[in-house]
Amino acid sequence: MKFASATTILALSLGLISCSTESKADAASVRPTKERKKAPEFKLKDADGKVVSLAEYKGKAVLLNFWATWCGPCKVEIPWFVEFEQKFKDKGFAVLGVAMDEEGWEVIKPYITDKKVNYRILAGDDSTAQLYGGVDSLPTTFLIDKNGMIAGVHVGLVSKSEYEKDILALLGTPAGK
């Protein structure tokens, strides 16, 4: 028997789960407000060395993406996130990337520069990953509502349209609007 990772268990305990291979075409993955749990607070440094906390994003819907430069599936999603940041940033939305590369900025900076990443990237650490269930599998993406509550989790690569539906649901806008 395979054991689910701690992230999966966390997601289950939060009642937040979505399957990357069996996503529903028309339904957002976000859960009802009353079923949401608070997103763990963390402080990490961005590319300029500035300490960034999740609390700074209260009032915004946040797509919190754990990724790494060695993770192929993560790289598929990054151009989508660049597009989402551009498209929804004025509507109370932000993408926050947490890079889990052990080598740190030495490998993260060249990559995000090359890909013209327009959202904030933070250098992740094990303690932050543990707060979010270990994040053993990448990409792992948490959808956090404007009140700082986790509304959904995607473990593994999901479709761009699924993310877009989730974001629109978080922003309280029906799909297609």
């Binding site: 395979k2 689910a4 399957c19 060695w70 192929g72 889990m100 599998s137 990448l138």
Partner: protein, 154 residues
């Protein structure tokens, strides 16, 4: 009881849904090799990759990928050969070009030599096998497995 089985079912569903496992690669238990002073001996380190996963080979085609890599502290014996398995090219939805990967079972071939003047006794050689595994949808964080080989020098 009902709650417990519901939780177990949910966990099973989640683990299969995400094809997520903590240990995508396992190495056979420690092995013992006999070696005569002044001679060499070859042995295989056998590993098994969980179904649905692949591990980057030692030469995975893309610079950004973390290759399979093994180190073996052989002293006072001498490490003569450490040969990685040849991977095969496979295309994944997340990669533009085929990646050189390993799936299923594989062996790493090791040859060590016992110097003429070494003491005839047991020597424990400690190895570290670093790998990075992915499915077609997600990648597990890089992991390092410890490998122990006991060399009985006679």
């Amino acid at each position: 009881m009902k709650k417990t089985s519901l939780l177990c079912s949910a966990l099973l569903l989640a683990s299969s849904c995400f094809a997520q496992s903590i240990n995508a690669l396992t190495v056979d238990p420690p092995q013992k090799v006999l070696i005569e002073r002044g001679k060499s001996v070859s042995f295989k380190i056998h590993a098994k990759i969980a179904p649905g996963y692949h591990v980057n080979s030692n030469k995975p085609n893309e610079d950004y990928l973390i290759p399979l890599r093994m180190t073996l502290a052989a002293e006072p014996l001498v490490l003569e050969i450490l040969k990685y398995p040849a991977g095969h090219d496979e295309k994944y939805t997340f990669s533009e070009k085929p990646l050189n990967v390993l799936t299923g079972d594989f062996d790493i071939l090791v040859t060590i030599k016992a110097p003429e003047k070494i003491e005839p006794q047991m020597h424990v050689l400690l190895g570290k096998l670093r790998y990075q595994a992915c499915s077609d949808k997600a990648c597990l964080t890089p992991k390092t497995l410890e490998v122990r080989v006991t060399a009985d020098v006679r």
